[in-house]
């Protein structure tokens, strides 16, 4: 029997379970980074994590706040110039899995992290593309992790930052996957205690639902313990102020 857990924890754990041991994974910051490191600390100890800052085979003990925290460099197998991450590793086809998030997603998994509103006069200017467009098109398979709401799971993207076609979209309610050549995402899995109607209500397009929607097994005690320990270490690491000793 599992302890009580939050929808966010279930989402991170469901995402982590998708990663097979030994895969080479290009990691985005935030939820993807939490999921990938949870996988590495549980069932996939040989997962190779690559961050776009240039760290290859990194094993952080706490999650980085930025994509280039010192912890990533100090625990990496190698640190290389950033252009080579995108050319020698990603473009050359050496990345198995890309893990992405965004502000908006559409029914084929297209992602917007650029603007809300028109590009030339945005109501909200978002951070932009970063590594996402090339990760989405050049990793062998792509997973998207996003909290679900009808406002962010949209009929029409305000801007297409990355082309779609992920292998799966993992939300805080369940999992959507393409089931045919159209690439349309279909609800195939839901979490315990979540109804199909809840998932539909939190989706801005008329969501297709698989004939048999599987219930995802709840987090194990081990998964929850490792995730919570990781997040506690992270919180402590990010709260430390820095003091520099200036020469006299």
């Amino acid at each position: 029997m599992s302890a009580a857990y939050t929808p966010d924890e279930m989402m991170t754990i469901a995402a982590a379970r998708r990663l097979r041991d030994g895969a080479v994974c290009f990691v985005g910051i935030g939820l993807p980074s939490a999921a990938c490191n949870l996988a590495r600390l549980t069932h996939a100890p040989n997962l190779v994590l690559i961050y776009e800052s240039g760290t290859v085979g990194t094993r952080p003990s706490a999650l980085p706040l930025s994509i280039g925290d010192g912890e990533l460099a100090e625990t990496a197998r190698s640190v290389i110039p950033l252009p080579e991450i995108f050319t020698h590793y990603l473009q050359r086809g050496r990345v198995d899995v890309g893990f992405l998030g965004a502000a908006q997603v559409d029914r084929v998994g297209g992602l917007n992290s650029t603007v809300i509103g028109p590009y030339d006069a945005p109501t909200v200017r978002l951070p932009g593309a970063g590594g996402a467009p090339e990760i989405a098109s050049q990793a062998r398979e792509v997973f998207v992790v996003m909290k679900q709401s009808a406002r962010t799971f949209v009929e029409r993207l305000d801007f297409r930052t990355s082309a779609g076609r992920p292998r799966a979209l993992i939300t805080d309610l369940g999992v959507m996957e393409p089931v045919d050549d159209t690439g349309e995402l279909v609800l195939t899995q839901r979490y315990a205690g979540v109804t199909v109607e809840q998932v539909r209500a939190a989706c801005g397009w008329p969501l297709r639902v698989a004939e048999a929607v599987r219930e995802v097994p709840p987090p194990t005690d081990e998964e929850l313990r490792v995730l919570r320990d990781l997040q506690a270490r992270t919180k402590a690491a990010h709260a430390t102020r820095v003091t520099i000793t200036l020469p006299r």
């Binding site: 910051i29 240039g54 930025s66 280039g68 640190v79 050319t87 090339e134 520099i244 200036l246």
Partner: protein, 284 residues
Amino acid sequence: MTARHRPLRDAIATHVHDGMTVALEGFTHLIPFAAGHEIIRQRRRGLTLVRMTPDLVYDQMIGMGCATALAFSWGGNPGVGSLHRLRDAIEHQWPHPLAIDEHSHAGMAARYAAGAAGLPFAMLRGYAGTDLAAANAAQVRSVTCPFTGEVLAALPALTPDVTILHAQEADAEGNVLLRGIVGASREAAMAARTVVVTVERVVDRLDAPMNAFVIPAWQVAAVCEVPGGAYPSYALGHYPRDNAFYQAWDAIARDRGSFTAWMERHVLGTADHAGFLRSVGAAA
């Protein structure tokens, strides 16, 4: 010491002028904050700023009115949220309009590499299936491979008038050693007409492994010793990233008034970077 070893104030006064294209590089690590602050103190205007991740340093320079254009690929406060001053400039033209030249990381990296190689444009397998090319049609085009017929993205090379880096060490000649995450610093430096570097310390001789990332002295116009010069980003081996400050910046920069007051007190109100570090409580 040589003539290229000089105070940061003199180096900025000599090499950075209104209207120039300037790249302050360093990917999360070794961001040249001290140099950015000195540009703000010297009230440069009309700069075209180039940087993959604008980060807090360009949020500050844009909010203080130094820039009229920005080339970039990811403009957020990493792990925290928005760069509020960048957003205000784009959404509300405050303090004045900001033209943007927007790319992906792969695109910006390729543009620096093309500039460093003396080529007119970069090519990569990228931008396909996105709205980025249509949104930036003047800067994102395509080229067809003469051997395979594959259509690739083509982007103009980046050749900054000045690239400014922060590094751990320089030696007595002015050779500069960077260690840790280097981002696209090497490419940005080799693409530039002029390179200015701030360093944690100047040593007699660099103790650098044979394949280390060393920028030769004859490529460097000015070397300025500025301990803590990357703060609140970090310098591996010297001090860590002040993640608590990056989180605190969100509230400071959210409001025009609190931003301006903070900049006047801690940047314009201090004479140099040591003064800034003491003012924000980051140095004893």
